[in-house]
């Protein structure tokens, strides 16, 4: 069962680049085992450390700045999480301690992977993301998933509302297991397959 996410308050680290791909979030060389665990250390490894394979922090990288050490919200640009489908990117973010990712837009598979792992992806219009990003650090954000709003400590009178799909919202708030949820409809599924086998027999004979 996933940890439910209803409200979250945390420090936002600002990584204002477009097209941050999943190869950057977790380089393939950091995927060392057939596992969902042990990935936080490799998060953003190419940018976070001074050299490949090194664990010496690059002081210029946003997560290494002292004010961001406790960051649990990541703010990015356009097409965040594009590229490879590797769910390891989300597992690494989660294990590191991120619960919310805000961006101008998301890679489709990354977006789905976030929801499956208890991370809230919030897509906001470019201007709103830039306004959040321009505030002096540390930026503290209060996110309310139920109300679909967020507030920045730098801009406390301004509620920003965001859209999120109803299924995604319920999955995150209730920490549901989608497989268990789908299995409650097993009868309907089996009835479909039984009709389908008559309708499209070649799907069932091949393989």
């Amino acid at each position: 069962m996933l940890k439910p996410l209803l409200r979250h308050t945390g420090i936002a680290a600002i990584l204002m680049r477009d097209n941050v791909d999943t190869d950057q979030i977790i380089p393939s060389r950091e995927m060392k085992r057939v596992s969902r665990d042990g990935l936080a250390d490799g998060l953003f490894a190419g940018w976070r450390y001074t050299a490949p394979g090194s664990r010496v922090p690059n002081p210029d990288f946003v997560l290494n700045r002292p004010e961001n050490h406790a960051a649990s919200i990541l703010v990015g640009g356009e097409n965040f999480g594009c590229g490879s489908s590797r769910e390891h990117a989300v597992w690494a973010l989660k294990e590191y301690g991120f619960r919310v990712v805000i961006a101008k837009s998301f890679g489709e598979i990354f977006h789905g992977n976030c929801i499956r792992n208890g991370i809230l992806p919030i897509a906001l219009p470019a201007k709103q993301v830039e306004r959040l990003a321009m505030a002096p650090a540390p930026v503290k954000l209060q996110v309310d998933l139920e109300q679909q709003t967020l507030i920045s400590s730098q801009d406390p009178d301004r509620f920003i509302s965001f859209e999120i799909g109803a299924f995604a919202k319920r999955l995150l708030i209730d920490g549901l297991d989608p497989i268990a949820l789908t299995m409650t409809q097993q009868d309907q599924i089996e009835a479909f397959f039984s009709d389908d086998a008559a309708r499209r027999p070649w799907v069932y004979s091949a393989g």
Binding site: N19, Q24, S28, S85, S105, G165, A166, A206
Partner: protein, 463 residues
């Protein structure tokens, strides 16, 4: 009501609507590879679920397998990579799913293997925890990349819980100028409309240019849809696809009823799309990337844009307005799910025949599958590559992405027939320029970025 091809495919697989506007979609085939599929099998087992229908699930080894000629069964191309191969193999056997192992005669990259062996057919729904699954829409299948958790969901339940995406029609009309390929169409589209231009839509590619592409060319075009931030891509199956399927789906008898059904898989004349893009093929010239996103692509004879972002330029070791032609290269790679099929190798071989790669360039060709490799060898294409100075590797994803281990050195400039020029994609600090196989071949023999037409006439080669 007039429907798009995507609407029809979605409707065909829709089990039922569920709350929150989502649908349960029946999944005809699930492909897994050792990099992201192994972990899905493991998690399925740990959570106490079993595979509902093992006959629909295929595990195929491609990502981490060694591409060294004469590799052994468990040999990986990255340190510790053996575990991905051996654990996936063991779990696949235990689960009773199909296994196309490293030593299987049909082994190769999932998206190359699936059409070759009739694992995907027109009208199928197919998913795989791999972003380039959209390749298979070229056969008129509903195919898209998912995460490992969703793969686990498909194994356990036979269905996916999915919200129908918006739809975009990308129409390309007219004759492609000489030297242009499906890869150039894709890079041109992404450069013009940005790497997020696909807006998470299901895309249908239409138009006379798409009709004129070979089935393999269509796979290249659909493959790159994910670099355009598309949900998926699809092309209506025509006679070329039906002929392709008849030739590749061994053991299948394609009844008239079945082919009649496949011919209905097309968008109705009055169907509506949420977004439309039109491209005149005459505007397209051979493309190459200069930066660190596929959207950073230009025509080969163009310089780096004036307004190029400095971060990408620093990484790539380039200046604004600098010509790309004439840049010295250190490496060349031909292969991948984008451009590792027989026709890609043939295009490159036409350039390489009677020419050689200079000593400062490491050139590697890795056919997309063992079937491609055998077919190329039967045509003598391997000899052309080898005589030109290319390594001729064992099938897999190979140098398309770095996973640890040996690769091109940092700051080396590599032309590549692959799909991603991200920072570090082919190795720490490696500067990747993505382009078509023929252009990779031309650059490799020239030792610098150039177009095939720039090459001096080849010396006569004695037979």
């Amino acid at each position: 009501m007039a429907l798009t091809l995507f609407d029809k495919l979605w409707r065909e697989h829709r089990v039922c609507g569920v709350e929150d506007g989502a649908d349960l979609l029946a999944i005809d085939r699930l492909l897994l590879h050792e990099r992201t599929g192994g972990v899905a099998l493991k998690s399925l087992k740990e959570n106490g679920y079993r595979v509902r229908d093992p006959s629909r699930v295929y595990a195929i080894m491609d990502h981490i397998v060694s591409f060294r000629a004469g590799r052994s069964r468990n040999e990986a191309r990255s340190p510790g990579g053996e575990a991905f191969i051996t654990e996936t193999r063991a779990m696949a056997s235990e689960a009773g799913i199909h296994l196309i192992d490293t030593d299987h005669a049909g082994q190769g990259i999932v998206h190359v293997v699936a059409p070759e062996h009739g694992i995907v057919l027109p009208g199928f729904s197919l998913v795989c925890p791999d972003s380039h699954t959209c390749t298979l829409g070229a056969l008129g299948a509903l195919a898209w990349g998912i995460g490992s958790s969703e793969a686990e969901h498909v194994m356990a339940t036979g269905v996916l819980r999915a919200t129908k995406p918006k739809q975009m029609q990308v129409t390309i009309d007219g004759a492609l100028p000489p030297g242009c390929t499906a890869k150039d169409i894709a890079l041109f589209l992404i450069a013009r409309h940005s790497a997020s231009g696909g807006k998470r839509c299901a895309i249908e590619f239409t138009g006379s240019t798409v009709d004129a592409l070979t089935v393999e060319g269509r796979m290249t075009l659909c493959n790159m849809a994910v670099e355009f931030a598309a949900h998926s891509a699809v092309i209506a199956p025509d006679d070329k696809v039906l002929d392709y399927v008849a030739a590749h789906a061994a053991g299948e008898t394609l009844s008239g009823e079945l082919t009649d059904y496949w011919r209905t898989l097309r968008t109705d004349p009055d169907a509506r799309f949420d977004f439309q893009i039109r491209i005149d093929a005459a505007e397209i010239a051979p493309q190459i990337s200069w930066g660190t996103s596929p959207e950073d692509s230009v025509a080969l004879d163009q310089p780096v844009p004036d307004a190029a972002p400095s971060r990408a330029l620093v990484y790539m070791g380039l200046q604004p307005d600098q010509p790309l032609r004439g840049l010295r290269i250190d490496g060349a790679f031909i292969g991948s799910c984008t451009n590792g099929r027989l026709s890609d190798l043939q295009h490159a071989a036409e350039i390489l025949r009677g020419r050689t790669v200079p000593a400062h360039v490491r050139a590697v060709c890795v056919p997309g599958s063992k079937s491609v490799r055998r077919a190329a060898e039967a045509l003598g294409i391997d000899k052309i590559f080898r005589q030109a100075g290319f390594e001729w590797g064992e099938p897999g994803c190979a140098m398309c992405f770095y996973a640890g281990g040996e690769t091109f050195p940092p700051k080396s400039r590599v032309v590549s027939s692959t799909n991603r020029n991200f920072e570090g994609r082919q190795g720490p600090g490696v500067r990747t320029h993505i382009t078509s196989p023929a252009v990779v071949a031309a650059c490799a023999v020239a030792g610098e970025i150039c177009a095939p037409i720039d090459l001096p006439a080849r010396q006569r080669v004695d037979a």
